[in-house]
Symmetry: D2
Subunit: 442 residues, 4 copies
């Protein structure tokens, strides 16, 4: 029973927050005249000393005391004597643990946002250096149209921006204080919940005491948001693994984020990218775990809720490591312009440019333009040349209206530059977006 | 292959949105001079007629045309002739389907928010009628302290408010238009994406064309938000199932939301509550499904993304049905004051009130107060009486300072009334919160 | 990078198995003449000493050495000198870690099977003591028909038997040895994989070296099986929580598996049952985690696979703790015959017995019998009596063919005894099943 | 309420099984003398006619009759008159629906096994044709060692074999009949459950009536097994998507399983592979959905269980389509020997062969051999040649013991052939395994 019941092995991470919440509670109790100034002093001094003991690794956590609250409480009794008992006035372990975890998750949201911004900055640096670097834009892993590597990087900047927005929204929503809900019904002591909420950095106290001790949707929202961010990380990780593979060869990763082989000196395994990709599982699994715990749970408090912490800690660790590793890996990686360009030039990726040109410039119906372009591509294929090397005369067989001007859209750079619609891959557009994000991420 | 490839069986739900997006696109193409006014007219008329055919159930969906876009396109070709082909100028199925689904999910967020508000109103009505109705507040399914049924209802009002907030945030975040991203890289036609975005009710066009066709985090956020709301629904559903069980007998459900037994006339099975509880699975499963699809998917478009729609539709249907059924069930249910009160009076639920009283009023250290209260409860138990029926003399054996005044906290109503801290169960506090929510939900 | 890359914090649990596998590999290398007897001796002695150091807690695990294999390898180099390097002949970390984890999971299957059998025995003891104890059989949490508590316990014996069967099947299926697959392609050394497989207790070597290093479906099957078992545990846990709640009062739990309240002496919180119920989340989440990792992973080895271990360890710990706690809790719990019987006697639970009697004995069509029974129940309800107390004359108003004989089916015990079809709740049937399981679980 | 309650839209798929079970039940009732031969005849004729009506699409399913059982029952009442009512003797919808779904899932296991075998055969054909076709064996998506394409195909044959084994085990375990459990407690009618079980092809009746109506672990096991198989399918699908990408170019897919672009004639999008990869999500999501439904569900029957069917149907459809599409795609695909071989010859993939040779043949300690090989590779890299083109003299600078004989292991074919350990990639070994599987899959 002790083994299944004790949570001290993992909830010790809450220690600094538990102490912070107790300090706020004691100060409030004293100001409201619920405990004496002397008791408040004894409690404060005791808690500060415990905080120091823990910070210095001198605190002896005991499993028989089950959880972090009891471990601190027992030590406080040694240090502060009877005053320690008064700290528990007008609160219970139910609102205490809800407060501790909420504080932890609020901070985790902040760390995630910062990690996402760092990653965005790393991507932005690469985007800037490669706003005009041609690479193949893939659909179905087949080269479809030439794009720029900067444009590709910016796609992820957008995704991580929305992830950051989600964390910000979650953080704002959860920024309410459960402390003072007591066991589940509030208390008859004349407490001041605005004071404790404020001292702990919360925007306000929670409005319903049952909800305060029974709800964990703040943790679920954190986990869901992390899981969505993890899908974005996994997509970028997958691409990096592929880009680093010789079949692509689009980027070289640095030694710091790869492992080598002493015998195959050119081999650099993208371990960090693979680990990031894999950690998606842990994070999604953590969300499923806590959602399953919460499913069908009657109010108000039940011990099932003890399962909230490990899910949150595991996901937060995985997410934060992944963000940091990804930011470092992106910063360190070296795109190979030549290989990207060569890959972009397979499969007649400017065929749609030709069709668009025939429609746009020569005013042909879309379907006809499409048909002519297809025929021209087929001929180029038979002749084994790229479109921009096919003689004009050959093209005119299928579309007599074509002039030399057409070559302006058939090259990769020309194609990319022509896609200048808002959000398009034209380097000028890409640079506009870089400027936008530079300003945002200042 | 046709069987695995065709999506028309489910994506036909997107038909009205697909037409709406095409109308906006055609109008923009015409205003930008990309297609002629005559073509635009022919397209508009054709699309309007298709919309009518679909609305009237006269449209012949064809599986060999794979998806909703091709079905509409083929019919438009019949109706509008060559103009139909020009509608596809400067767009592709990739941005088209991203736009359609986004429009659908934006609206689904709106429906979820409305459904949540209706449910909150039903709970608020019950809370108002029962702001002072005593029921047991449970921890670990054991009666812990008397609370009011109104207070309990308000706990769910809070949870559903946060769910609504999450849907609102998601809706705002996804309110960007992918249309104009074309296949993945934007287009060389001089399109006006602000115009189409505005016509479709979006706040702005998306800033990156790759992101526009490749991302589905808007759908994931919808699903995650729905999954979290579903855990709240499942908790209330679980409680209703228990409350309707004879061991509790706290509420009677109406015939409309139960099924009966012709032979056991008093039996009312809470089928609706059970179905709502069960649908949590479908909704959570849908999030897992789409998150798994997105994991490790290289940019930009891949056919895997076709799996987004069924997950979203299944979850939205389950959520909307659950919200409506729950609102109706709550509105219809009849709390049984007597049974709730009787259940609240088992297990000495005012024992903590007594301890708090000794500490608060008599100024005893919390631990001593606790000890005296425990001894008094033990005596009451031996005598087989509730605390408010134990003679004062008996209590004084353990705490001589007690006076008649103590009985003011020992009754259930007195106990509840005394928990008047902010967010507490005191009926006065509950009524304050009801007023707050009445204003919010106007 | 070190932080995301290092696995030594969790894979140290594989240490004994890693050493066992290395011992088997070294012995095989020596017998095949690939390494010298002297080298084999040095390796064996070194590994045995390392095993002892680890067992005695004297081994200094180093994070900079990343994983358990490198930690042991480095120490072996100190102890055995150049021979240590030869241990790595004809194997790689890829097949080594696959072997270690497989050994671990095979054993975990064994522990789960034993834990399930212990739990079945505890349930069987309760079933035997209560083969005739009447309780309500619920549908929709409404009493439907009287059953016996023994019958209810046996339902779980069946579920846990199937869980055990699943673990046995999984164990048999995974009982193949990856060792010798080397990095991914096998080796040119003349190794004897049958010998190592046999030494490690495997049935045979795996047949394909790529599969051996790339597959983790053995771990997925373990996790899925654990997740299914966890749903069963959660159902029993939910019932125990409800049964221990005063509204039911069906069982009293022992102090060992509950936590109390010093101030409410009668309160026993079913913490163990709640924790078991909650751990379903962790176990299901672990399956989702690893399934997500494996989704779309190209062959053969990728670092994503490092994520397999924590998922497996977390789930195994949760499952094994839950099984042990549940077995203890069931063994300790005391059913309350009177409360169960009283609950079984609400809601006219023998109404269907009456209908069946009219159909079976009087030969009336089922629909008519049903109708008459319904009318009789309604009358009993109006008179406020249970069916077995309603005068025969009253019954005859609706079904004249009834005689005194009918009372033989209207009592709870009679009803239960009458359901003597195979698998039914009749105590005689229940005792037959108990005998069957006693024999099986010997 | 009707909308959330009705299941006829999806459970109509159970119709043939519901009728089959009713036919078996009626025949048993008649043989046991519970209903008359005349009634049994009327029921049988009515049910057969309904079966025909459904098969011919003439049956009018009615939503107001909720589910398939009531739809059939109502029609039977029209066709068979009062006899129809007697069909419901000694059974209830609870055991009826459990029986129907179990029959469905038993058959689904059979279809999955057959689909897996077909896929294995397609892989085996490819393996046979390419037992000696060299391709790069990847770790971390980096070429590590040459293997053969046949060997790679066989890795999947192994995985799908285990999947088939899991379905077989699940099928055997679930092959027990719930019919006769009635509502939850069995029945007082003298039914013969062995007879109905036998008639429906089950091995035996279930041993506990509560378990029979309350358990769905047979469906969970099916879903978990499907989810594991789906991870294997997704891995092969991922590889096919990559292999078909120009960066690899390892295989050409047939038109039947790709979609093209009219304008880029050489483009073949691997839509089928992507859809298969994506369907992993649906299948895993279905398992999570049902596991969530089952979590914490008290016995015996609750309406939550209605959620079992859609999860099972959705997963089965996705799995069966995926298996068929994958088998067809594999059968149709054309490996490109030249591209595979060229890719295998990048990155000095025989470096470990050289090291193994120095250790194995020259008897050098592994570490020294490794060091010499690394130095030789570095030199080859500087000279820009593959290892088998580096002059012997160059190699001898680092390892003087080398002779011409070493070239026997430095070529790709030689390397592959040398890995002749059991399960290794040597073509001879591969052919042995092909023979083994040919025999197994006859």
């Amino acid at each position: 029973m002790e083994e299944i019941n004790a949570s001290i092995d993992f909830d010790r991470r809450l220690a600094p927050l538990d102490i912070e919440a107790s300090l706020a509670h004691a100060a409030m109790l004293a100001r409201q005249g619920i405990i004496s100034p002397a008791d408040a002093d004894a409690i404060r001094e005791g808690l500060n000393r415990i905080a120091q003991e823990i910070a210095e690794g001198r605190f002896a956590f005991r499993r028989d005391l089950e959880d972090i609250h009891m471990n601190i409480e027992a030590r406080l009794a040694e240090l502060a004597g009877p005053a320690a008992g008064r700290l528990h006035t007008a609160r219970s372990r139910n609102d205490q643990v809800a407060t501790d975890l909420r504080l932890w998750v609020v901070k985790a949201c902040g760390r995630a946002r910062e990690g996402l911004r760092d990653l965005q900055r790393a991507l932005l640096d690469k985007a800037e250096a490669h706003a005009g670097t041609i690479m193949p834009g893939f659909t179905h892993m087949q080269p479809a149209q030439p794009i720029t590597f900067g444009h590709h990087c910016l796609a992820y900047v957008e995704m991580f921006a929305r992830d950051g927005g989600r964390f910000a929204d979650a953080q704002a929503r959860m920024n309410e204080c459960p402390l003072g809900a007591a066991a589940l019904a509030g208390t008859s002591f004349p407490i001041d919940r605005d004071m404790t909420a404020g001292a702990l950095g919360f925007a306000r106290p929670m409005r319903n005491s049952l909800d305060a001790v029974a709800s964990r949707d703040f943790a679920l929202e954190y986990l869901a948001t992390a899981a969505i961010a993890a899908t974005h990380l996994s997509r970028l990780a997958e691409e990096i693994v592929l880009w680093a593979s010789p079949g692509f060869g689009f980027v070289a990763l640095s030694d710091a984020f790869t492992t080598g082989s002493s015998i195959m000196p050119q081999k650099r395994n993208p371990d960090a990218a693979e680990l990031i990709r894999g950690k998606t599982g842990r994070i999604l699994g953590s969300f499923v775990a806590l959602a399953t715990v919460m499913k069908g749970l009657a109010l108000a408090y039940a011990k099932d809720l003890q399962e909230d912490k490990e899910a949150v800690f595991a996901a937060a660790d995985a997410l934060e490591l992944s963000l940091a590793a990804m930011a470092g890996m992106v910063a360190d990686m070296t795109p190979d312009r030549a290989k990207m360009r060569a890959a972009a030039d397979t499969g007649y990726p400017t065929a749609t440019d030709l069709a668009d040109y025939i429609a746009r410039v020569l005013g042909k119906p879309f379907r006809e333009a499409h048909h002519a372009a297809g025929a021209i591509v087929k001929l180029a294929e038979q002749k084994g040349v790229t479109l921009d090397r096919l003689p004009l005369a050959d093209m005119r067989k299928f579309e007599p209206g074509l002039t030399e001007d057409v070559f302006g859209v058939l090259g990769l750079e020309a194609s990319a530059a022509s896609r200048a619609s808002y959000g398009g891959t034209a380097p000028a557009r890409v640079r506009e977006q870089i400027a936008f994000w530079r300003e945002k991420l200042k």
